[in-house]
């Protein structure tokens, strides 16, 4: 039972790291798109 807890923790940690990275990519993409739109308006 105890080892299952470690197993699920490792899998959850892996996906948390990947999701955080994907989130950071999305945030950077939105910011760039906004900057690009501002430049187009000028």
């Amino acid at each position: 039972m105890n080892s299952i807890k470690f197993l699920y923790s490792a899998y959850a940690a892996t996906w948390s790291i990947h999701l955080l990275y994907i989130g950071s990519l999305l945030r950077r993409y939105r910011r760039l798109k906004q900057e690009l739109n501002e430049l187009k308006q000028k």
């Binding site: 105890n2 080892s3 299952i4 470690f6 197993l7 923790s9 490792a10 899998y11 940690a13 892996t14 790291i17 990947h18 990275y21 994907i22 990519l25 950077r28 993409y29 760039l32 900057e35 690009l36 430049l39 000028k42």
Partner: protein, 245 residues
């Protein structure tokens, strides 16, 4: 290309779900470690993927130093960033696996320490890329990447040359595993490789876009300055107003 990305994303998501099913349900339970050994199917493919991405970074860095092609420089940066993400997974899942099996979260043996050093080198590389405005930054980062890559064989072969807590490597070492475990390991690695490829693709597009925005901003500020200077020449009051109180 725009249509290909969502198709690949769906296929990769399906592969990842299948890989999790294989790792948690289909793979046989290891005799001594029990279910916790299934961390192996995330830990090892993540390490292999990180090594592969760091090797791509090495090749791209060497090519950049020779040809000074900005696209190759972008590829070097992207592979290092995604490589650091996978190396972080290795450094996090390793201690979670070590705790129930070795009884400790961390030990300063050669394999673990050299992996931590590898991660630190590539984090430094990314920080150099992020915070240096110098035109020499890509070349300096490329040199750092070449030195950083020297740590990869040290990480992999450390188990051969030094006594460590870590078991023998699965490929090219004294370690051997059940063929069913091999199959599940390869399925997981393929899924993670596709996932890494997608992340690199997205990050590369983002990097290209960032460089375009920076160029457009530089051009805009140049044109803005030119417009300002022309206005000052035509009407000196503009210059007085611009200098302000």
């Amino acid at each position: 290309m725009k249509r290909l990305f969502p198709i690949l994303a769906v296929l990769t998501a399906l592969m990842l779900v299948y890989a999790v099913y294989q790792a948690l349900v289909v793979a046989p339970t290891e005799r001594t470690m029990g279910d916790v050994q299934r961390i192996f199917y995330y830990h090892v493919p993540s390490a292999w993927t990180a090594f592969l991405l760091f090797l791509v970074n090495l090749v791209a860095s060497v090519v950049y130093l020779v040809k000074r092609n900005p696209k190759v420089d972008a590829l070097a940066m992207v592979s290092a960033e995604v490589g650091v993400v996978f190396c972080t997974v290795v450094l996090v899942t390793g201690p979670i696996w070590a705790r129930p099996v070795w009884g400790i979260w961390w030990t300063w043996d050669v394999r673990l320490t050299s992996t931590l050093v590898l991660w630190l080198i590539y984090v430094s590389y990314l920080l150099l890329r992020r915070f240096s405005d110098s035109a020499q930054a890509p070349a300096l980062a490329a040199v750092l990447a070449i030195f950083g890559a020297l740590d990869i064989p040290l990480v992999y072969f450390s188990i051969w040359f030094f006594r460590t807590q870590h078991p023998q490597p699965v490929i090219g070492g004294g370690g051997s595993i059940d063929p069913r475990m091999w199959r599940v390991l390869l399925i997981n690695w393929m899924a993670f490789l596709c996932f890494a490829l997608l992340m690199c693709w997205s990050r590369y597009r983002l990097e290209t876009m960032r460089r375009e925005v920076e160029e457009a901003q530089a051009l805009e500020s140049l044109l803005g300055d030119d417009r300002g200077s022309s206005a000052e020449i035509r009407n000196p009051k503009v210059a007085l107003n611009r200098s302000g109180p």
